[in-house]
Amino acid sequence: MNIQFTKYSKIYYIVSAVLIVASIVSLFAYGLKFGIEFTGGAVIDLTFTNQRPSNDQIKNQLSEFNLSDLTVKPVGNQGATLQLSGVDEATHQKILSKLNELSPVQENSFQYIGPSVGQELRNKTEIAILLALVAITIYIAFAFRKVSRPVSSWKYGITSLIALIHDILIPLGLFSVLGKFYNVEITIPIIAALLTVLGFSVHDTIVIFDRIRENILRRGMGNFQETVDWSLNQTIGRSLSTVFSTLIVLFAIFFFGGDTLKYFALTLIVGITSGAYSSIFIASPLLVSWKSYDEKKMQKGQKPKK
């Protein structure tokens, strides 16, 4: 079996371009909704013993605290999540007893993040992302340090970076849509998942590129497009198996693992799927397209020798 992957490059490019443009538009239009870990504030997660009071009832009941930015989000049949700006423990307890007067209620969890903590976390996230990019650039430079023909090594590097941006933008776009329509917030677990995706995405690409180089060394230059196709055929089994076994556990977490890990798993599912797709259908075809583009330019520039 020999599938000619690179034959339909244009279709893959169009699919990815549409997804990326949609992601970027969504990011500009809706932005990202950051969780209280980054913005500071408090979240109270409640379960009412009886019927949940309406959002307005809850808000009215708490009017004396002047919580101007209070939002109430119903959860399931009896639960509710209150989000508000910072409160101290005394006020927190008063809020709970006030709600108890309205209807018997049990607190599942309470989280308060001070403004300085949010700022610190934003700084740390920036540092981590920067470090990750530096580390990955070094990794790519190291992996392709031996110059190989007929495509020079930096082109491998650029294509893997393009695939990387592809794999980060798509989950981010998804979260801007989820944030807008389902109030899903970017939280620490999602940042962790995104950074993990970053690592895996590059690696997937490098495994395939390694094969391409190995085959060029073994079979000689030949037809570059055929070599790429052949390498993809050799590696696709492994790529799919690895992604599949990882996706199995991620779906298990997504469906059964509870709320904390749900969107963490979703980020990884989208990121890893996109990573597998981009390394097979974007990065490798891009190498071929780039080379043929260079060849065409050369032919135009100089008269054909014959």
């Binding site: 981590a128 677990p189 993990t196 690592g199 556990v249 298990a252 693992g257």
Partner: protein, 474 residues
């Protein structure tokens, strides 16, 4: 018997021990049954519990930021503060509280299962109070002891103790009464060593007001003792029961009136004790304010239990899914890899207990993810083996060659994942740390299980008999 069988048996022993350690309850039940039936006395397996994080067992996590603007030695001030808060937290009676310094000026306090968060926060936030107390007269002491007995009696009868006259008197220390001397008059305490005996001593340095008060207090107490209290309890544990309560008392004797504001406490104490005392004196002398927490996370016990259940089921479903997938796609080697994967899970769980790793939602998430990734190495090896068989090699040669040629990819792949974990680890957020740590641990164990254990299995099970099925097997 060749070497590979010894290694194989070794792997099996390791696997059985890990499984028993990770989940001893069936073994223990079996032992109980046998003991009862044959009146044997077989011991239970070594019992150790998993360490569960606050999000899984319920409790509160508080982060404080200390105001160190007036402090010279910041690291020492923080360890003094940690010590003071730990003393207070220990009086809450929660199991295994954590008090730890984070970064330069932050203090993390974790109180599993605490009921009254509000009063815990209030007690933690109080400024440390260091006081020097002098002996009461015998007559005074007797009065207080009588009052304590009276109040005790009323309390035992279940009546309101506040109805007793002067009931507040019963709350006082019966043997010591406060003096004017408190932590605010103390400049610092240092540990020095006697030049002839080399024994540790504690040097106290009072400020000018403190020097006068100290002179008065020592003047009227020559030959008597002066007790040192921090937060209303003895400054150190004196009866060696590892907790500080009303039965402890640290009270050095005054030999003479001391002028000039400099004093030395001598005695038979270890350097460790002297350091403890000095550090606590300093935390009372230069109280570091921490105010209210800058972040707080409270998880109810019900939510914790539900989260734990859910994540366990996610892990079990994930593991089953991967096993089914491996057996369907890689048949015999897939089955062997699945057995290796189960051993991998057991070794990991045993390590969680042994190290011990605090299990949170995130660390369980990292662990489950690592289950999915652990088979990657095997997939790489099997893919290479398939290629070798296609080229006409025998099964044994294909196994050897498969491992050899897949190794660079496995090494690179895992190294890459470890780099990601290292980057994640620089976040000091506990969620990410937990995730990164278990993922990294999982990667290291998976290298062992995928390469070593699967290989031994293949070497033992792949014999000439299987040779003719080789095309079906892979």
């Amino acid at each position: 018997m060749s070497q590979k069988y010894y290694i194989f048996i070794g792997v099996l022993v390791l696997a059985v021990l890990s499984i028993l350690f990770a989940y001893p309850s069936y073994y223990d039940k079996g032992v109980d049954y046998l003991n009862q039936k044959f009146s044997w006395t077989l011991p239970h397996f070594w019992q150790k519990d998993y360490t569960l994080g606050l999000d899984l067992q319920g409790g509160v996590n508080l982060v404080y930021q200390a105001d160190l603007s007036n402090v010279q030695n910041k690291a020492e001030a923080m360890s003094g503060l940690r010590d003071v808060i730990e003393r207070r937290v220990n009086t809450f009676g929660v199991s295994e509280p954590v008090v730890a310094v984070q970064g330069d000026n932050q203090l993390v306090v974790e109180l599993p299962g605490v009921k009254d968060v509000a009063s815990a926060i209030q007690m933690i936030g109080e400024t440390p109070y260091l006081e020097f107390l002098e002996e009461r007269t015998q007559e005074d002491s007797q009065k207080i002891i009588d009052k304590i007995q009276e109040v005790q009696k009323v309390q035992d009868e279940g009546k309101d103790i506040t109805k007793v006259d002067d009931w507040l008197m019963a709350l006082q220390n019966p043997y010591y009464k406060p003096t004017e001397l408190t932590g605010e008059y103390l400049n610092k305490a240092t540990v020095v060593f006697d030049q002839t005996t080399y024994k540790p001593e504690i040097q106290l340095q009072f400020n000018s007001d403190g020097a006068k008060i100290f002179e008065e207090v020592t003047g009227r107490n020559v030959g008597k003792t002066i007790a040192i209290f921090l937060d209303s309890y003895s400054i150190i544990d004196t009866n060696g029961d590892d907790k500080i309560d009303v039965s402890d008392l640290y009270a050095p004797r005054v030999d003479a009136k001391i002028t000039g504001g400099k004093a030395v406490i001598t005695g038979n104490m270890s350097t460790q004790t002297a350091n403890d005392i000095a550090r606590r004196l300093n935390s009372g002398a230069l109280p570091v304010k921490i105010g209210s927490p800058i972040s707080q996370e409270t998880v109810g016990p019900t939510l914790g239990t539900v989260s734990l259940q859910k994540s366990l089921w996610a892990g079990i479903y994930g593991l089953l899914g991967v096993i089914i997938f491996m057996v369907l796609f890689y048949r015999l080697p897939g089955l062997l890899a699945s057995v290796a994967l189960i051993i991998y899970v057991a070794i990991n769980l045993a390590l969680f207990k042994l190290i011990p790793v605090t299990l949170t939602m995130s660390s369980i998430g990292g662990f489950i993810l690592s289950i999915g990734m652990a088979v990657d190495a095997n997939i790489l090896i099997f893919a290479r083996m398939k290629e070798e068989i296609k080229q006409g090699h025998g099964l044994a040669a294909a196994t050897d060659e498969g491992f050899k040629r897949a190794w660079p990819s496995i090494r690179d792949s895992n190294l890459n994942s470890l780099i990601v974990c290292a980057i994640l680890f620089i976040f000091s957020t506990s969620f990410i740390k937990g995730f990164a740590f278990t993922l990294a641990l999982g990667i290291l164990v998976s290298m062992f299980s995928a390469i070593f254990i699967t290989r031994i299995f293949l070497m033992v099970f792949v014999g000439p008999k299987l040779e003719k099925f080789k095309n079906w097997l892979l």
